[in-house]
Amino acid sequence: MRVDRLLAPLSGLVVLAALLLGLEWAVEAGLIRRALMPAPSTIALRLWDLLASGDAMAPMMQTLRLVFTGFAIGSAIGIAAGLAMGWWPSVFRLLEPLVELVRPIPKSALVPPLMLFLGIGFAMKVTSVALVVTFPVLVNTLQGVRGVDRVMLDAARTHGWPARHTLLHLVLPAALPLVLAGMRISLGLAMVLAVLSEMLAGEGGLGFLILDMQRSFRVRDMYAWLVILAVLGLALNWLFILAERRALHWQRR
């Protein structure tokens, strides 16, 4: 089993290497136009230059800061609203129609109006990321709160727990698996909106660079930045899953 689990990704990595080599060969043999797809080795060299010179650092940090801030704000709003809506029926009745009205609006379509109000700076981008993050977190939190075992709630009441204590120490932990599942979905969406708003604002960040390099036909740079973005996405996703496992360690199946 142990060996098998080590071998499984290994055979996959071999296939990946084979694909890259095949691509390299196809470019060298002239099957793919170099102007569209430079050889992977030259992209790797460019990538190395960007990383070694430290030029990659600033755009990376810019995009990461955007994703983190937007994700944190959106998650906080989503969790708070979801908890309140799940806990107090009056809050649910008040906010549910509004949530259902705003939820189907494609958040990416909100970037242009946000640019009109907030300009092309950090405020606009963070708002668009936070908006897209909020709703999956909210809906999942609500579902999680509703799924809390009634018997446990009754037990808390029997023990005379105040509402605040019950919310923090019973409802929130019980809803956590669903809350985190919502946040995992939102993390991917946050990356999408971060890249999109950077592309539309044209003011730095990985998304802007990828589009800008394409428009100025610096194809090797474009692919290098794309690789950086992909690795960043992969790393964030992986980190989140690790954190999720740690937070839910009691939920071993």
Partner: protein
Amino acid sequence: MRITSGTWLILGLLALWEASARLGWVDSPNWPALSQVLAALAADMATGELPARICGSLWRMGAGLAAGGLAGVLTGLAFALIPLTARLFGVVVELLRPIPVPAVIPPLVLFLGLDDPMKITVVALTVFFPVLTNTLQGVQAVEPDSIAMGRTFGIGPLRRAGFIILPAALPAILAGFRVALALALVVTVVAEMIAGEQGIGSYLVLMQFAGRAPEMYGVIVLLAALGYALNRGFVALERRLIAWWYAAGREAA
């Protein structure tokens, strides 16, 4: 429909929107009144420009959904039924999955240009992953007994896949398609916003640059309605296609 506090909240907010623009509380060309937005939307629909763009966007979305969905189902079936394929290509798929979609648009523009082929490919790529994941999970959850029974009756592997496994996994696959449908509309609009002059997305950006706020908000209202209608339509279709599944007393996930 009962009028709850939530309905009043929405009505109140809409009235506040209208009043703030009409009475000059918010004095900005970016803040048109609700009535102006609806009038602009109606006018755009009447000229036939917007309906034509909607049809174009929907066609690109549909084509991408079909192509990406088919690829997702086939890959999911292969991964689940032939473990070797999952071992070989699983890593590549997992590496590609976290790339934020807008970022693949610039390289695709190089290969496929600004028009339909590029946009359909972007949509197909987006749709592929949720459908693949759900197909994989759906097939893995098929009761081994029913497969064993097929084998006992001497049904060949291809017919087993088509007539036993696929129908049994259909609820999960359709759930994947429901997620994919929402993403497909968003990504169609995103692709149109970033590249080319087709469809609703491009119209949205055009109106932003032209400073025609009422038209811009009108398009967003329209997109929200479209997303809502598509989801509703799909759920209705789902209820028909897998009526047997709901008949077994299960609820939509």
